[in-house]
Symmetry: C2
Subunit: 671 residues, 2 copies
């Protein structure tokens, strides 16, 4: 059974990688840009949709606000990019977690870390959900199965990341540039068509959102403002992922900071241009996009065709401009899907790294710290996979709903990180001599201050306008994660305090004598082996202990023992309540009371069974006794295994030669 | 957490009992009769119902066969009683398992044991389901909730039996006699009323079974015969439980065999009289009982009243004869329910005893062998409870369906047991001198032969007429249990063969030298304690082993180790694939190759955490390493525990004085 599982695992995961493989070449500007921008650029796949679907609540008229809100969102995104360019200078090791812990203390760090972990989960869920909808735009037969397409996407990313695949740079870079080429061709072609009056209307221009009852009496000024704010808060999803280059400065080519700043700026400008282009064209082609396509009506108020499928905005534009189902349209949509997969992949890289870092800082279990067979942080990948699958299944891969939860965590970490940077520059100012240098620091502080104000405002707007739609769930999840992480840290700290050696301690102190006790539950070969092992270690005293569970069998065991004629005295412990551990521990405590500085070693014979159902038939008692004995101070438990036939386990044969490398044989002999 | 669970357990189960409490007074005739007859007598609660509901398929006309079939069933039951009276003489230690194993070999024994275990499960399920229906007859508000009443009944029996309660004799004896008094009063009153023409018709006399399409053309001779056979096979449920006194001879007062034979005979006669009385009165009062009450119609063919509830036959008779809802009627119905609870209770006593016996014979896991805190076989009780609950829930407490599965197992064990007895008498005949003694043995053999033929015929009839209605499920379950039990036995036999000492073995041989290896995963207090313990046991050689998972931390550990200035050499093992166990085992194997006759002891420092979620944060690695090391021959694992604060576990304070009783201190000193 274990071997079958192992084979399946090998098939999926592949053979283990040597740690040496981990070193990698740094990324230059032209590779770093597409690799680390995928996350930010892919936001154009859903951010315009979010704006339009929120505005659709106000009816067709409200849709005219689209380009304006697009510009506001782009402005916010660019401001954040500028702020991070400044942050990189001070914290090239990167990451909002590092910035916040260093400047605002552990609580801020943990809060940001919790928000970021949640963000990575949402990045995967949103990217794969959006990817599924883009695929449906090309393969209509998949309509209705979006959830399962997204689930399959997560599964593939998980396996790829456990295998440690996808470390190539050329393919992602080429894919991202292909996407950009197609997207900007479309934008330029669309603008030209618009100028010459040849721009076709989008498919969805033929339908209309049903008037929302809340806005039935036409839109008052207040209602209009609220709607604009809500559209703005949803559209802020555009800014998700812009922090990725700032967190990966270490992977870039020298001069690292310059490279990273270049990547950030170009990334931001490209994202801005593509979003503005898409929003403009969506307006000109009359794209209609709503949360629930069943609430659409024909332009005249009649019903919508039964087979109407609502495609994402970029897919609608591609079809309108390049011709429905045309080669370029399909190519653009597929490259958009590929970019979304890259965005998900980047989260799969960053989440386990953050988790490992948090584990190193004792905020998460140590299991997340180490790399697996293929050098990925397997446990972190599994954790992220499960969380993303839960989100996708819970929201049935509805991108719009997922994005509304996504934004809150993203802007929370932006805000805290910017606050940390303000603190950083203030501190630096105190140590900076010379008015020119001080002025430079002051300028940077102003940039981060603007970033802070803007991100805080956006966070506030999102929180207020989206609180009822689930923002509270995201906040609650972050709070819960902060609580759990701080409890874990507390525990590890307490343990470390207990375990760390103090200089005064004498590492050479030994227990004065060793008392060996052999637990005899039956007089069989394993017991005799335990006895032989105990005797071989020459203890100061040695006794066999039987527990009298049943007079008859105790007598039989005593007789068998006597027949062996061994030089070891037997003590029989009474057990009126038919327990083994309790009388044994009383006996050991009595021994310890007589000589508290001595060591007591309990030898327990143990069967090793082949595994599977057979292991249920053995050792249950021993396991309980051992667990109980472990809680006794001054008592050591020596398990003497007896391998039953069929229990052998060959060492995996990977290396031809010996693997021992006595790095340091200090040459001192044992005393 | 563990302590909370412990408190809940104590509350439900009570404080542990001393083994001394187990001895009990034997039961005399007047207490043994009601205690061991409850199971058989309680069959009158459902056997007549089974006969009538089967006949009802043939329409009202077929119901006239009721008394005749009742007589046939009673005759079979009495024949079985007579056979067992003879069996008792030869096997007073009792039980069909013992009889079958002793005379027909282990396969027959295991088959009978499987059938019996299934029977006990059905006894509980059927009794509790029937009990629920009787309660509904008194408390109509419970109608529809029969399943949950039955489930509650099983739960109460389980708790009572884990608590070891219900060992009183007076209450059950009085309850059983009360039931008999009421039942026979009813029968006599009914017959008198019938003679003077004052017998009221039963409530159900006003309804009629719907004509079954299979018998729509009137009943031909063949159809009638088939129906009679099916009614007979269902009615054979009357014989369930008659073997109970034969299995409990050991609990009876001396002369045991005489007492048991008396109990069997009187039990059989009482069961016969009550069944015949009930069948006669059911016929005279026109009781109608069908499988599915919704398929009833009014006497004229009109609809049945909406609130019509179909009560069991005895309840209907009690209401007709004592007056509906009258004091005596209610008392009789409640005492019937009480008797059913006693029947279930007897299965709760017998099933775990049989399971313990099978565990002793290595056919079931050892966990079923030992008695719990309150001297009951707790694991067996839990197993029975779960199985009975599954049956009740699967069949929604429909007594009729359960009984049809019940009968097959019962008659299978009867048949095999009778066959065993024939074999027994034949063997005894070969060793019996003297013609009178030989004649007596021959007579007994004839009785068991008749028993065998009758039970085999009934088993065959049941199997043929009920195969489609689920008899195959029961057979399959028995076959599966036989398979599992024989596999378990095979395994235990193989293990025993491997572990048993041969006389030639030298129990005094010792490994020549001891090599100690300390696994160093961190240089902290637990590691130093492990080292101190290892040094205290003065091994022939001693080395510390580090596994190089990560160059940086390995270097840090080596430096920390050097600072301690310990007289122990360190070996660092390379681990290109970041594993701990594999390189360690290669190292140990190399050690063992150098000196195969030596013992290698691996010291592993282990944290003991308070429990709960915190234990998830530690020791995962250690556990895996230990499991892996256990599979290496010649390697002993010594876990050196380090108790973190909060892990202390006080010894339960039950006994005031010391509990050690050095029964045998052989006085030899350790070498």
């Amino acid at each position: 059974m274990a071997r079958v599982l192992e084979s399946v695992r090998r098939l999926l995961v592949g053979r283990p990688y040597d740690t040496e493989r981990l070193t990698s070449r740094p990324l230059g500007r032209l590779t770093a840009l597409p690799v680390f921008s995928a996350n930010a650029w892919s936001s154009v796949a859903y951010a315009p949709d979010e704006i339009l679907l929120t505005l659709a609540l106000g009816g067709t008229a409200a849709l005219t606000m689209g380009p304006g809100i697009g510009m506001a969102v782009v402005a916010v995104m660019l401001l954040i990019v500028l702020s991070y360019r400044v942050s990189i200078r001070a914290h090239p090791e990167g990451g909002d977690y590092a910035i916040s812990s260093a400047n605002l203390g552990p609580w801020a760090g943990v809060t940001v870390a919790a928000a970021m972990m949640l963000d990575f989960v949402f990045t995967v869920a949103v990217s794969m959900a959006a990817m599924a909808h883009y695929l449906v735009a090309v393969i209509p037969a998949l309509a209705g199965a979006e959830t399962w397409v997204a689930v399959a996407g997560v599964g593939l990313l998980a396996v790829a990341n456990i295998r440690g695949a996808g470390r190539g740079r050329l393919t992602p870079a080429l894919l991202a540039f292909l996407f950009l080429a197609l997207l900007f061709s479309m934008i330029v072609a669309g603008i030209v068509q618009d100028q010459i009056g040849a721009l076709e209307p989008a498919t969805s221009a033929a339908v209309e959102p049903m008037p929302n009852p809340a806005f039935a009496d036409g839109l008052g000024q207040v209602a209009l403002a609220v709607l604009a704010l809500r559209a703005f808060s949803s559209g802020s999803a555009l800014a998700t992922g812009v922090e990725v280059p700032a967190s990966n400065v270490a992977a870039m080519a020298k001069p690292r900071i310059k490279t990273a700043q270049f990547v950030m700026l170009v990334m931001g400008l490209i994202a801005a241009a593509s979003t503005l282009g898409v929003m403009y064209l969506a307006n000109r082609t009359g794209v209609v996009f709503v949360l629930d396509p069943t609430e659409l009506q024909g332009a005249g108020g009649g019903p919508v065709p039964e087979d109407y499928v609502q495609n994402p905005v970029v897919a609608q534009l591609a079809n309108a401009i390049f011709g429905h189902g045309g080669f370029f349209a399909v190519a653009l949509i597929l490259s958009m899907a590929a970019l979304l997969v890259m965005a998900g992949h980047s989260a799969f890289k960053n989440f386990p790294e953050l988790a490992s870092r948090l584990a190193k800082d004792s905020y998460l279990p140590r299991q997340l710290l180490t790399r697996g067979d293929r050098l990925g942080y397997t446990n972190g990948v599994v954790l992220l996979t499960l969380a993303a699958l839960i989100l996708i299944l819970a929201f049935r891969a509805q991108t719009a709903l997922l994005v509304q939860l996504y934004v809150i965590g993203v802007f929370l970490s932006f805000t805290v990180s910017q606050l940390g940077m303000i603190r950083h520059w203030s501190r630096e100012l105190a140590h900076t001599p010379g008015s020119r240098a001080r002025q430079a620091v002051r300028t940077r502080r102003v940039v981060n201050l603007v970033g802070f104000v803007v991100t805080a405002l956006v966070a506030l707007v999102v929180l207020i306008t989206r609180f009822g739609q689930g923002a509270w769930v995201a906040l609650l999840a972050i709070a819960a994660m902060v609580f759990i992480m701080s409890r874990i840290r507390e525990h590890y700290d307490a343990v470390a305090a207990e375990l760390t050696l103090t200089p005064a301690e004498d590492a050479r102190a030994l227990p004065s004598r060793v008392h060996a006790v052999i637990l005899v539950l039956s007089v069989q070969r394993p017991t005799l082996r335990a006895l032989a092992y105990a005797r071989a270690s020459r203890p100061s005293s040695l006794e066999a202990v039987m527990v009298d569970l049943d007079k008859e069998s105790t007598r039989a065991h005593l007789e068998a023992w006597d027949r062996l004629d061994l030089p070891v005295p037997v003590t029989v412990l009474a057990s009126p309540y038919r327990e083994i551990a309790e009388p044994l521990i009383r006996h050991l405590r009595a021994l310890r009371r007589q000589s508290p500085r001595d060591l007591v070693v309990v030898y327990i014979p143990e069967y090793v069974v082949g595994g599977g159902w057979k292991s249920l038939l053995h050792n249950r008692t021993n396991k309980r006794i051992k667990e109980r004995l472990h809680r006794e101070p001054g008592v050591m438990v020596a398990s003497v295994p007896w391998q039953l036939s069929g229990s052998a386990h060959p060492v995996k044969n990977r290396l031809p030669g010996p693997v021992e490398s006595p790095v340091q044989g200090t040459g001192r002999s044992a005393d």
